[in-house]
Symmetry: C2
Subunit: 198 residues, 2 copies
Amino acid sequence: MRYAEPIDRLIKAFTRLPGIGEKSATRLALFVLNSGRDYATELASSVITVKDKVSLCPVCMTFSDSNPCAICSDAGRDQAVVCVVSDYKDMMALEAMGGYRGAYHILHGSLAPLKGVGPDDLKIKELIRRLGQGGIKEVILATGFDAEGSVTAMYVAGLVKPFGVIVTRIASGVPAGSFVEYMDGATLGSAMEGRRAF
Amino acid sequence: MRYAEPIDRLIKAFTRLPGIGEKSATRLALFVLNSGRDYATELASSVITVKDKVSLCPVCMTFSDSNPCAICSDAGRDQAVVCVVSDYKDMMALEAMGGYRGAYHILHGSLAPLKGVGPDDLKIKELIRRLGQGGIKEVILATGFDAEGSVTAMYVAGLVKPFGVIVTRIASGVPAGSFVEYMDGATLGSAMEGRRAF
């Protein structure tokens, strides 16, 4: 005997979520079963609504429920500066930081030839098209400093430079609050290389 | 700036699941956002279906999509033997074991006066009603050996005994595969007390 078929089906659906194994999925399914009908309705409806209402902003490719997104349509932000990030979560982290008042471009991934992710799998064409329309003065490359993020930054820089805009890369170095003695050589190398007048 | 409203709403819905904090909920919501529409539809539909199709078996109180449940309507099982468990998951663990061929009764909780869980919050009336209808010869108490499970077993035994049925309690002792030297005193005490002719 297994769980009743509808319970099994829900467990399977939960198992497809990242980081949710069969044991966790079972716990979640039994929680739904034990919870009020209100919660089940709210969960199902919010899953559907997120697919119905949220789509990619045609300008910067971020997830948004407006077109263009709140950032691209904000006249108070400098739309001539475009910060290129790999992921929606990177953009959210930069927004949480607070100080940045320019626009974004979300690539939705990093180049990873070994995993079969090439330029056509990222929103690179969309960035090039946006540059072709003019009005952009600076492109800030804010992909990660891991191998994939670095390669992506280099690749995008190569395509962006011909447009005659300023291309910058965010700094790599010792994180705020960290001690020099605990840093690895690569980080210290970047920090030394990127040193500035004090 | 926060996540778009539909994303925020989905994050909130996921946060209510057990063991899912805000970070995990965000990861799950972005997964749904990035996944195909098929998956979102399947997840939403299985959440709703589980509430629509699954209800408590009127005989044994287990979650089931048939009435009575597959176990209660199985003529190959001994319906005169009823194993009382706290939780649906306990029943599933016993079924996974395989050897048991009797019926069940799910209490949906344990007595926990300090948490305000009294007899009326459990499916105890339903067990008593079932005993009143006759045909039951043995009640096996298979609640846990923690404080709450033990109190629950004692309480249920007190109500069941007047019906003149055999009331048994599953054994407490050293788990299969375990070493005596690592066992706590309470477990060894139970094991000694429950010793049998060999």
